[in-house]
């Protein structure tokens, strides 16, 4: 298939500043279709910002980002259409507080993809079942645990049939006993061949699920390799320090 040779995500020489702070420095990163890339690094290294530039929630200063072979458009309808093909899961779940769990999952398919209500409802229930929260369908987000909310957020993204999924520290706001249930859903997705970019601090998850691990520090990508390479033989001193610092606990 010639299609599979087009990378899903391609970033070239991406630069980004927040005021005086240079958050992304010459970032180039390619994610192939079906690949699972985990981005790790100390806090403030720019990994979340990188993740958010891929669907242009953060505009960039210079460089180029292509999704499925096409450069990201300017803010507007074309960008909205493109965003609908990229699922995104946030640290703080960000479910719509005034809507039930079921409505949260149905909303975008109906509004953006113009699916009929019945079809959207059936698909939403199916997805809620898949992430194990179908019994909560009639509740509102505040009535669910963090782990359940995050699984709903994943279902909400999946309802759009995305070509790729971005995860911005999906387990960082969760109580420890709920991290596993969210990571399990993500592991399933990875097995099914979803293209995924995951910013996380879960090293065991990275080791098990990632095709590639990208290590970032101070706005730069310092390492980019298989988890075996990275965790066993980190090439840079910064990566070694980072891995040592998290090994202690």
């Amino acid at each position: 298939m010639s299609m599979s040779q087009t990378p899903m995500i391609e970033m070239r020489n991406v630069e980004k500043h927040f005021g005086d702070h240079h958050v992304l420095k010459g970032i180039s990163l390619t994610v192939k279709k079906g690949e699972v890339v985990v981005i790790i690094g100390p806090s403030g290294s720019g990994k979340s910002t990188l993740c958010r530039t891929i669907n242009r929630l953060e505009p960039i200063d210079s460089g180029e980002i292509c999704f499925d072979g096409k450069p990201l458009p300017e803010e507007g309808r074309a960008l909205a259409a493109l965003r609908s093909q990229i699922g995104m899961v946030f640290q703080s779940f960000n479910l719509f507080a005034h809507k039930t769990i079921l409505e949260n999952v149905m909303l975008a398919p109906m509004d953006v993809l113009h699916k009929p209500q019945k079809e959207a409802r059936e698909a939403a229930m199916e997805l809620l079942k898949r992430v194990g929260v179908d019994s909560q369908a009639g509740k509102v987000p505040a009535q669910l645990s963090g782990g359940q909310q995050q699984r709903v957020a994943i279902a909400r993204s999946l309802a759009m049939n995305p070509k790729a999924m971005l995860f911005d520290e999906p387990t960082s706001a969760l109580d420890p006993e709920m991290i596993g249930e969210v990571l399990d859903v993500m592991t399933e997705l990875a097995k099914e061949g979803m293209t995924m970019v995951i910013v996380t601090h879960e090293m065991n998850f990275a080791r098990r699920v990632a095709d590639r691990v990208v290590f970032m520090d101070e706005g730069r990508i310092l390492e980019d390799g298989t988890p075996e390479e990275f965790f066993a033989h980190p090439k840079t001193e910064r990566a070694r320090d980072f891995l040592n610092s998290i090994k202690d606990h």
């Binding site: 929630l57 803010e75 609908s84 703080s92 960000n94 719509f96 909303l107 975008a108 509004d111 987000p141």
Partner: protein, 219 residues
């Protein structure tokens, strides 16, 4: 004149006045709400001149006394060859001012929404209009029911401006002036109107609290 006499002589006129006040209130509030919502959408839009215009609008109508606005509409607009009926002038005065407050309450409601929800909606491919309609306005409304209830009462009281122009049929304040020129109603004539205003306000307040309990967002 005692209250029984007043009521037997002018009772039906009071009823008519009460209905007129309700009608003016409902119309003004509806217009105020539509204008207030439109101005609020301008104030949060990505287009800077629109935001500026929205802020300017609110500053103007939040800070102008109702009587001054009514005088401008009735006496100044004709110089610009715009002659509006008295009723239209009253409706405009009683809706333009509340519309500015309506926008302020909606803005306060919008500020209670976690920006993360907006980002989530954007990441799902929803357009600005969809996000406003489906995520922002519904939540802003639910968290501004109580201030909106107060605004509805304030709008009702603003319709008393109609007593300053010849309006037919008269509303609750106008009827008092009318009675006191035809009979010696004294303060009792005022008290009857005040009581009717009061009862209406209590009913509005009760309805507001009930709706607020029904639609409040769990956080």
């Amino acid at each position: 004149m005692r209250i029984e006499e007043l009521l037997s002589q002018f009772g039906s006129q009071y009823v008519r006045a009460l209905l007129t006040t309700w009608e003016l209130t409902a119309l003004s509030a509806a217009i105020a709400f539509l204008l207030g919502t439109a101005v609020t959408v301008m104030r949060i839009s990505p287009i800077r001149p629109l935001r500026r215009f929205g802020d300017f609008y609110v500053q103007i109508f939040r800070n102008i006394p109702g009587a001054s606005l009514l005088i401008l509409l009735v006496y100044a607009l004709p110089y610009l060859d715009v002659v509006l009926s008295y009723r239209t002038c009253v409706l405009m005065a009683a809706s333009l001012i509340p519309s500015a407050f309506c926008s302020e309450y909606l803005m306060a409601g919008i500020n209670t929404i976690d920006p993360g929800q907006i980002e989530a909606a954007r990441s799902l491919g929803m357009t600005f209009g969809q996000i406003i309609r489906r995520v922002v306005i519904p939540q802003a409304l639910r968290s501004s029911i109580l201030p909106m209830t107060n605004l509805l009462v304030a709008t009702m009281l603003t319709t008393a401006l109609a007593s300053q122009v010849p309006l037919n049929p008269r509303e609750l304040t106008g009827i008092v002036a009318h009675i006191n020129t035809h009979a010696v109603g004294g303060v009792t004539a005022f008290l009857i109107s005040a009581f009717l205003y009061c009862m209406t306000a209590v009913a509005i307040g009760q309805a507001g609290s009930w709706i607020d309990r029904k639609v409040r967002i769990l956080r």
